[in-house]
């Protein structure tokens, strides 16, 4: 996880513990973050990663999370994954 101004950069391979820490970290800082960038250097580790991004987007719809917005990822491990977040 890397914080640079109002851009937060995350890695896709965050473990559950890291996601939990991130959850604690981000909750009070929602107002300061405009963009969340996700580096897809490796495969996802937990489905909770997509969940927390979806939660952040739901909380702050103007938050730019390109990874989430593209609605899908392709992994050599999991195949093609789509997520549907609106409603």
């Amino acid at each position: 996880m890397e914080f640079n101004g109002d851009v937060l950069t995350l890695d896709t391979d965050m473990s559950m513990d890291e996601i939990r820490e991130f959850e604690e970290f981000i909750r009070p800082r929602m107002d300061y973050i405009e963009v969340i960038e996700v580096e897809e250097t490796s495969s996802l580790k937990c489905s909770a990663f997509i969940s927390i991004l979806a939660s952040l987007k739901r909380t702050k719809p103007e938050l730019q999370i390109h990874f989430l917005e593209k609605g899908m990822t392709i992994s050599p491990v999991y195949g093609k994954i789509h997520w549907i977040c609106h409603d």
């Binding site: 559950m16 996601i19 959850e23 909770a48 939660s55 739901r58 909380t59 609605g71 994954i81 977040c85």
Partner: protein
């Protein structure tokens, strides 16, 4: 042996068979890498091996074959042509599998040297291939995400997932081929699934390993805002998975066996040609499981599915695995039956009864006994094909190591041979084949061209029946054996003095003396002089013999001559004094009553018979066994000329009784020290006869051809 140990023993045996088959199949596949049926066969073998290895805690083997299986699966799914260097990697992988299996069985902690290197190469190959194979990455970058489209057209999350799944099913149906099943799996994991150790991705990963294609749709509509969000609780309401896989319904269901019934739903999708696109049809065998699972059962299970299942069960019952120990016991019992039957047939008192019905019954009994004996014998007989096919690998490897182009011709692969012998035959044959290529064939193509031969050498491996024996011959069309060189070496090493008048076969037989090698250079393949004598010993243990025939400039043939079985021998019954002895017919060259003028007595060397210019030592059986028989002259008795490891000898007996197949019986510890006897047999009249070990009737050092 406990149940667990028994199961493990079966696994080890099966694994051995799978690995042996892999070894053969991979060479065939290397020759024809477009044969995807064969690739499927290899994949299935590796897949079974993986499952079994992991089940029995052979984790290192399991780990390796798991990755190897992935690579094989990639190629069989994509039908992509396999690059030559990757074929090499496949062959090397089978070698590693063999080595790890040995490590696992012997509980050796150290991994084979090539293990990590090969595993790494496989992983890299897989990574390259899978990344390259990510479908439509570029195209998809330009495709509007489902979320945007759905928002635009006002679809709900559920509808959008449904649409995505339907589209995915249609795409997969379009590429579905025979042997692949299409499933839709809905995962509705409870909120506490993470705490129970389950993650949706875990199932995707496991399924993905067995899938040709897999696509999933995460429905995130129930995700809370961050103030209510809890990372360790799953807010994902449903994940729908579409998967194209060779797995059966039951195999797919196994992935979810630790979930609650309401947490998953598996639906088998019919291939495209069906009238309805999506119906649940389940193999009959899986119905028992379905009742407890949350999967709907439709009553319209097509008959064709039922029939297939039944056919499969029938074919599975066509073979049965039997412990060879039980077969041996059965064989022993048949041996006893044969003896009892012979006893009845030759019993004088019974023969005196003049009753046609009794005679007929005895005759019938004799025929049935013979038939049973033949059938039980056939149970132990297996085709030599597998052993021959193994040689393809040996030839391939030796050819690569020596840089010599070699064609292998296999003939008579269907010739059947006793299972016990098959097991012991591999090593000697491997040595002979390596020898044929390394030393038999010319050093380079130029030498062959100069000799008017094709650049590629030919090695022919042949099996056939000859005079009640099995002959396995390995011939090369190489430079042949230089007899002068063999004799020179033999004199140098003191094996012979140089005064002997040796026949060609005796000269060639010198090559099988311990420590004898004519190779100018020692390679890691052959030339150390420790091979052919071991080959000879191994063959002799099988009650066989090995002959070498060679023509300089034309090639060499090694012939292994084996009895049909180790349990029965074809013997010549001879009488000496009051005793009956059996000489294995395989060793007998001829028998005759000599004329007085061809028998000679040499001072301190004993008696000899001069036969076609050759002086053959006479061995009096009565002397060997200290029999109280009347001493007669050789020309008054019979000489049975036999071939031994040290040359021919003439065994002097009183009478030839006949020729008979006898069941070999071991003699027990007390008589084991008598080297001149290899076993005993019960004759038809109930008498016991000793089987002669002709090689021990005269010490090897006594070889003297005058």
């Amino acid at each position: 042996m406990t149940k667990q140990e028994q199961v493990k023993a079966i696994f080890i045996e099966e694994a051995g068979e799978i690995i042996e088959k892999l070894d053969i199949d991979i060479i065939h596949f290397e020759e024809n890498s477009c044969d995807f049926n064969l690739l499927n066969e290899i994949f299935r073998g590796v897949h079974t091996l993986k499952g079994n290895a992991n089940a029995f805690g052979f984790t290192r083997l399991g780990e390796f074959v798991h990755h190897f299986e992935d690579v094989l699966d990639y190629y069989r799914s994509t039908k992509e042509s396999i690059e030559e260097h990757n074929l090499e990697l496949f062959v090397a992988s089978v070698d590693v599998i063999k080595e790890i299996m040995t490590c696992e069985l012997d509980a050796i902690d150290t991994l084979p040297e090539s293990y990590l290197d090969c595993l790494e190469k496989i992983k890299i190959l897989l990574a390259i291939k899978k990344n390259k194979n990510i479908p439509f990455v570029e195209e998809l970058k330009n495709v509007s995400p489902l979320n945007d489209l759905a928002s635009e057209f006002g679809f709900s999350c559920d509808e959008q997932v449904e649409n995505g799944v339907e589209k995915s099913i249609q795409e997969y149906q379009a590429v579905q081929t025979e042997g692949f099943n299409l499933y839709k799996i809905d995962l509705m994991l409870d909120v506490d699934c993470y705490k129970r150790g389950f993650d949706h991705l875990l199932f995707l990963k496991n399924l993905g390993e067995m899938a040709k294609s897999i696509e999933s749709f995460f429905n995130m509509q129930s995700i809370d805002t961050i103030d209510k969000f809890k990372s360790d609780e799953s807010g994902i309401s449903q994940v729908s998975i579409v998967i194209l896989t060779p797995l059966s319904y039951d195999e797919v269901e196994e992935f979810f066996q630790f979930l609650f019934d309401n947490e998953y739903k598996i639906t088998l999708i019919k291939p495209k040609e069906s009238e309805k696109n999506v119906v649940s049809v389940l193999p009959v065998a899986s119905l028992g499981h379905v009742a407890s699972a949350a999967t709907p059962i439709l009553s319209n299970i097509p008959n064709i599915v039922t029939n297939k299942a039944v056919a499969s069960v029938v074919s599975q019952k066509s073979t049965i695995r039997i412990d060879t120990f039980k077969l041996d016991e059965l064989f022993d019992s048949i041996g006893e039956l044969v003896i009892a039957q012979n006893f009845i047939a030759q019993n004088e008192k019974i023969n005196l009864i003049e009753d046609e019905s009794i005679s007929r019954t005895i005759e019938t009994l004799s025929k049935i006994t013979k038939k049973i004996q033949d059938r039980v014998m056939s149970l132990r007989m297996v085709a030599i094909k597998d052993t021959f096919e193994k040689m393809q690998r040996v030839v391939r490897d030796t050819s690569k190591k020596t840089g010599k182009e070699v064609h292998l011709i296999l003939q008579g692969e269907d010739t059947e041979i006793d299972k016990t012998m098959i097991d012991s035959l591999s090593d000697p044959l491997i040595h002979i084949m390596r020898n044929a290529i390394d030393h038999g064939l010319e050093a380079d193509a130029d030498e062959r061209l100069q000799a008017g031969k094709n650049v590629a050498g030919t090695v022919t491996l042949k099996a056939f029946h000859k005079s009640g024996s099995i002959v396995i011959s390995a011939s090369d069309d190489g430079r042949g054996i230089n007899k002068e060189k063999v004799l020179r070496k033999a004199i140098e090493k003191g094996v012979i003095t140089g005064d002997e008048n040796l026949s060609d076969s005796q000269i060639f037989a010198l090559l099988m003396q311990p420590g004898f090698s004519t190779a100018d250079t020692i390679s890691d393949l052959s030339g150390r002089g420790v091979g052919l004598d071991v080959v000879k010993t191994s063959i002799e243990k099988l009650r066989g013999k090995i002959e070498i025939d060679s023509t300089e400039g034309k090639g060499t043939t090694f012939s292994i001559i084996l009895p049909l079985t180790l349990a029965i021998i074809d013997g010549m019954l001879v009488r000496c004094g009051d005793e009956i002895y059996i000489i294995p017919t395989l060793s007998v060259v001829e028998s005759f009553r000599p004329q007085q003028e061809i028998v000679h007595v040499l001072k301190e060397k004993g008696e000899f018979v001069s036969l076609r210019g050759q002086y053959i030592p006479v061995v009096r059986l009565s002397d060997v066994f200290n029999l109280n028989a009347k001493r007669i002259e050789p020309w008054e008795g019979i000489l049975v000329c036999v071939e031994t490891g040290a040359g021919r000898i003439a065994i002097m007996v009183d009478e030839l009784v006949g020729r008979q197949q006898v069941v070999i019986k071991t003699l027990g510890k007390a008589l084991v020290k008598l080297k001149e006897i290899s076993g005993g047999a019960i004759l038809g009249n109930g008498d016991i006869a000793l089987i002669l070990n002709v090689d021990e009737l005269r010490p090897i050092t006594e070889v003297t051809h005058v």
